[in-house]
């Protein structure tokens, strides 16, 4: 038991990630509003549809705002709750659009005493109105006293909705894969340096598990792409490059089964493994930046994780990385031991 503490840790973390990742609810958010454009200088009645909201409870204290910037805010003079997930707010849109523009994009913010605030960024566009409209000045409203609540819930994001949970599967799988590959490369270098064949054997099994992880990473990424981009596979540069990276490790596995001379095969495997590990970085981190891509972290998009992750998500995300890494080590160890037993038996006969 003393040496197996990490396996127990792995099982606990894995169960925690699965349970927390699937069962923790999302924070309330605003899904849609019933119109996309409005005219300046006219009254506006806006119906918003919420997600995970409890607007019928304590409906008298709900407030809502349209926000252009920190200082330019329009507060609704009347809020009417239709149901738990539907509410109507009435605004008086001022007739002047700041900075002399033709139109402005405003966000809708709804604050609820128990749910906390919900935001729909760029909810609608306000266009310049007709000259004959009555002149309504900008009110001096400000967003104050938001009911921020500390609760264990994942943030609500508008394009990805519930698939934000994929952050605990897609991203940590790739990170655990890199961890396994680093370890495999260390074993490969040790093998080339010292010549202990079991080191190479370990590296091979670690790389095989990394290949499985990478394939799962592509599969989870495809599910996410189907939801967020609309198709499972659109030959996005990041998808293409990760497919190529996987092909490189398929080639690595091919070497093992197509070279008869054992010592040559082990040397070639180790060398190709190191070479492939080096080539991963131009594949996944240099080339994708040079082409337009939908994937976060390439083509100028920000990487997911810096801004989009809050502390609740980190509480599941980091354990997920550790859990998958330990699980990978465990799988590699089992497969390594099996192969070692087979080879020793073969040698004895």
């Amino acid at each position: 038991m003393k040496h197996n503490w990490w396996k127990i840790l792995c099982v606990f973390l894995f169960l925690y990630v699965i349970i927390a990742g699937f069962l923790v609810p999302l924070r309330p958010g605003i899904k849609t509003v019933n119109m996309s454009t409005a005219h300046a200088g006219q009254p506006l009645t806006l119906t918003a549809h919420g997600y995970n909201t409890n607007w019928s409870i304590e409906s008298g204290q709900i407030r809502s705002w349209l926000k252009y910037s920190d200082s330019l805010v329009i507060e609704a003079h009347q809020v009417h709750v239709v149901g738990n997930t539907e509410l109507t707010s009435q605004f008086r849109i001022p007739s002047a659009i700041p900075d002399g523009k033709e139109a402005m994009s405003v966000s809708l913010i709804v604050d609820h005493p128990t749910d906390g605030p919900a935001v729909l960024p760029n909810a609608l566009i306000i266009k310049r109105g007709k000259k004959s409209d009555a002149s309504i000045p900008w009110p001096g409203d400000a967003i104050v006293d938001l009911n921020f609540k500390k609760r264990f819930a994942f943030p609500y994001r508008n394009i990805i909705f519930e698939t934000i949970r994929n952050t605990y599967f897609h991203v940590p799988l790739w990170m655990a894969m890199y961890g396994l590959l680093v370890l495999a490369t260390i074993y490969n270098i040790l093998y080339l340096w010292k010549g202990d064949m079991w080191k190479e054997e370990r590296a091979f099994h670690l790389t095989s598990v990394a290949l499985v992880y990478g394939t799962l990473g592509i599969a989870t990424g495809m599910m996410w792409a189907e939801f967020a981009w609309g198709t499972f596979w659109n030959w996005d540069i990041k998808q293409t490059m990760s497919l190529l990276a996987m092909l490189m490790f398929v080639a690595y596995v091919f070497i093992r089964f197509s070279i008869a001379d054992e010592s040559a095969r082990r040397r070639f495997n180790a060398v190709y493994g190191i070479f492939a590990f080096i080539m991963i970085f131009p594949l996944l981190y240099v080339v994708p930046r040079m082409a337009p891509s939908l994937h976060p972290g390439s083509g100028g998009n920000p990487a997911f994780g810096s801004d989009d992750m809050d502390n609740t998500m980190r509480m599941v995300f980091y354990p997920a990385i550790i859990a998958y890494f330990l699980l990978g080590l465990w799988l590699a160890q089992l497969s390594y031991r099996l192969s070692r037993i087979k080879q020793i038996l073969l040698f004895k006969n």
Binding site: I259, I274, V287, M290
Partner: protein, 214 residues
């Protein structure tokens, strides 16, 4: 030492020129097929793609043949004669010359068969050289491994393609721009290709001694 190793390779190649001539013939046949289908009219995208793919197929056969014609005894002799890094660099330089020759033939065939494009020649030559350098560096390393496999000609495709495709994507894109003579970040692409070349050279020098060891 480098000189004599390269000279030996050139001599043995010249003694049996059928193979190189065969590869050139193959290049010609492939391009002629395209010529018949395309009526001699290729847009820059097809031009760049076809140029590099044709060159890659020829290069794989040429480099693989260079390794598979030598026996294990010859390798043992080299091993006594000099150190593996010298052999790697000599082999890579010889392959570079061979591939530059193949590239020149390829380019001439393209100019003959397809209507001459407004190629920005200096830029294209720089791209061609960096690309062929990367190909020879990686192919030398990988063809040596593939030469040991039972199905060497299949193995070399499996081993080389994933490694070389990222470089090819950059090369084809910037060749397209060079053929159209437009400038979209071609220096950035060129820097990346040179970076990959340096990476391959470092990997080759670092790893080839371990392949060579008996």
């Amino acid at each position: 030492m480098y000189g004599s190793l390269i000279r030996k390779d050139i001599k043995s190649e010249l003694r049996r020129p059928q193979f190189v001539l065969g590869v050139i013939f193959f290049q010609f046949c492939l391009l002629f097929l395209f010529f018949l289908f395309q009526d001699g009219d290729l847009d820059s995208r097809w031009w760049a793609n076809l140029f590099w793919v044709n060159l890659l197929i020829a290069a794989m056969s040429l480099v693989l043949k260079n390794f598979s014609q030598e026996s294990a005894d010859e390798y043992a002799y080299y091993y006594q004669l000099t150190d593996p890094i010298t052999i790697y660099i000599a082999k890579a330089s010889y392959n570079l010359m061979l591939l530059l020759f193949a590239a020149a033939i390829n380019f001439i065939l393209f100019q003959l068969l397809f209507e001459p494009k407004s190629v920005n020649h200096p830029r294209f030559m720089v791209l061609l050289f960096t690309g062929v350098l990367g190909m020879s560096l990686s192919l030398t390393l990988v063809a040596f491994m593939a030469g040991f496999a039972r199905n060497a000609s299949v193995m070399i495709y499996i081993l080389v393609l994933p490694i070389i495709i990222p470089m090819f994507l950059l090369l084809i894109r910037s060749t397209m721009d060079a053929v159209d003579d437009i400038y979209i970040n071609w220096l950035g692409d060129l820097t990346l290709v040179i970076g990959i070349d340096v990476l391959m050279l470092a990997a080759g020098i670092g790893l080839f001694p371990y392949l060579w060891r008996r």
